[in-house]
Symmetry: C2
Subunit: 344 residues, 2 copies
């Protein structure tokens, strides 16, 4: 047990007195050697840390230099065809998995700083926010994005919401009711794990509502998102896209690993069998709801590390695009310094 600092100092001076009188030459030499070794180890540590920091910075700079290129490559433009996506590709990033993981770790500090600026903005009355919408088929890696990308920033500044099967109360309302209530307040990064898009995806594929109902939802969604954007939200919509083969491997892994059994749901196979219908539904979502203020990004997700890196780049772009400075004081700083000093 470490003691209070006063106590420690006393012990130390006692030990030093002891050393002067008792210690024999052999012990002295041993102590000197140990000191030397410790100093050498500390120097090596320092060097390793410096090297690692430099590597991190370089990795972050490398990713950030390509950030806008990554976003441009992934953004859904007119004529985009989901069927043409190479789910194993890594658009805009030609490094290895290891490079990608290093770049993600490195970009964390940047994201964290930008997120804190946004949070400070919200605390001082600002209305800007970021909304990250995550969609994707089972096993596409939405959870991994939350854990490994959203997890890079302060949990205080994140409003995470998962949208599952609507509750009886939610069902009594318009499909956007529960979504509107979950929009991030000023200063927050809102994250939707699934979203209102399920109301034109599973609702359509499983015939939960009549075609004329889901059909008109596209316009309702576009209006809703335009309002949210006008109110201050920067909206980033991400569809994580995995191949049927990769999905097979991931589902198989869930069935084979004791620590993943809980993630498997027998309906996953049923959904898998309806993939063509889901692809058609996703294609229409992308065709009809990728707008200037709420664009879709389709992220190839067979490489988990790439998907995480790409989403970190999109999040970075959204946060940096707000161009937020630290808010100025809304009180008299000099007067407060004087008040504070008077309490010493």
């Amino acid at each position: 047990m470490a003691k209070g600092s006063k106590k420690k100092k006393k012990d130390k001076s006692k030990n030093e007195d002891k050393k002067k009188h008792d210690v024999k030459p052999a012990r002295k030499a041993a102590a000197k050697n140990a000191e030397k070794a410790a100093a050498k180890a500390a120097k090596a540590d320092r060097k390793a840390a410096e090297k690692a920091a430099a590597a991190h910075e370089a990795a972050a700079a490398g990713l950030l230099a390509r950030r806008d290129a990554v976003a441009d490559l992934l953004r859904v433009a007119p004529g985009f065809r989901l069927a043409d996506v190479d789910t194993g590709a890594t658009p805009g990033f030609d490094g290895s998995r290891r490079d990608g993981e290093a770049a993600l770790a490195a970009v964390g500090a940047e994201l964290s700083d930008l997120q804190e600026r946004l949070f400070a903005h919200g605390r001082t009355g600002g209305t800007r926010s970021v909304l990250l919408v995550l969609q994707g088929l089972d096993t596409a890696g939405k959870g991994g994005i939350v854990r490994h990308v959203v997890g890079l920033v302060d949990p205080q500044g994140v409003a995470l919401r998962s949208f599952g099967v609507p509750t009886p109360e939610e069902r009594r309302h318009h499909f956007l009711w529960r979504i509107r209530r979950a929009l991030p307040r000023g200063g927050m990064i809102g994250v939707f794990d699934r979203s209102h898009y399920e109301d034109v995806l599973v609702a359509r594929v499983d015939d939960l509502v009549a075609p004329e109902v889901w059909e008109r939802r596209f316009d309702e969604i576009n209006r809703f998102e335009a309002q949210a954007a006008a109110a201050g939200a920067t909206i980033v919509k991400v569809a994580l896209w995995v191949s049927p083969d990769e999905q097979y491997r991931r589902l198989r892994e869930r069935l084979e690993r004791p620590d993943k059994l809980w993630k498997y749901d027998p309906t996953d196979v049923d959904v898998r069998l309806r993939r063509p219908a889901y692809e058609a539904a996703y294609q229409e979502v992308l065709d009809r709801t990728s707008t200037e203020v709420a664009p879709w990004y389709v992220v190839p997700a067979d490489s988990k590390w790439y998907a995480r890196l790409a989403v970190s780049a999109l999040l970075h772009q959204a946060l940096a695009g707000l161009q937020l400075d630290w808010p100025p004081a809304d009180y008299d700083v000099d007067a407060e310094l004087a008040r504070l000093d008077a309490t010493r």
Copy 2:
């Protein structure tokens, strides 16, 4: 831009063909040297990574071996006196700040694993949860705990709630109404940034309610927490304790740094002036509400790194104490493997 894997392979074999035919000896030697250097760098990287991993493991093991000792030293026992706390001490940990930071980073992976077990337990109907209550005077470091300790685990498994001045709606209800609604569901780590204890702290110090009102709240709180514990919550209550001098330095820093101005509030100085009253109120909270099922831990917090490390140890103890295995499948694994394979 990187291409899909097929395309890549093609390019590579083309390059190899080229090499065989065109490359001149000088270029060949240069390429060989570059390869050698790259291999050497990769080897050094691997060694550094191995060394770092070993150091991390050792740091984690070191902290975890002392985990229960740290908890025992910080737990409030009968006769505990807040006035005797050495706010600069690091009970149970005799390493440096750097050792402490390494140990915290290392314990992150452990916390993350335990948190995921808890989450899996919740997803399969389990009712256990962990509730971390954070209290402390202004600048005590509650926000840093959220960012640097709670931030170590998956945001999906965290329900964070800040309790500020009650809203008009909250004021119309019993003081525990908003608290009860914020209790974590099964599988979650709930984090209260301030809590129902403000109703016997600021409410008392600022005379917001009559003495007979806050006086009876201690029993109400104990009953409430006992119920929450009986319903499955492991409750860990942390009071972060800073010295007046350290608080002065932190407030001064907020006034001096442009990136911290937004964190300062002129009422911080008013609260600081009432410190004796707060200390008395905290002492009574600790005397009357540290129970077997909901103990208080007073964490010396002048060293931010120590406070974070200590809370990570308390959180680790709470999570590990649940002794949760990965939940078994509630479906027929072999049948599902067969169903899945049929979809290939």
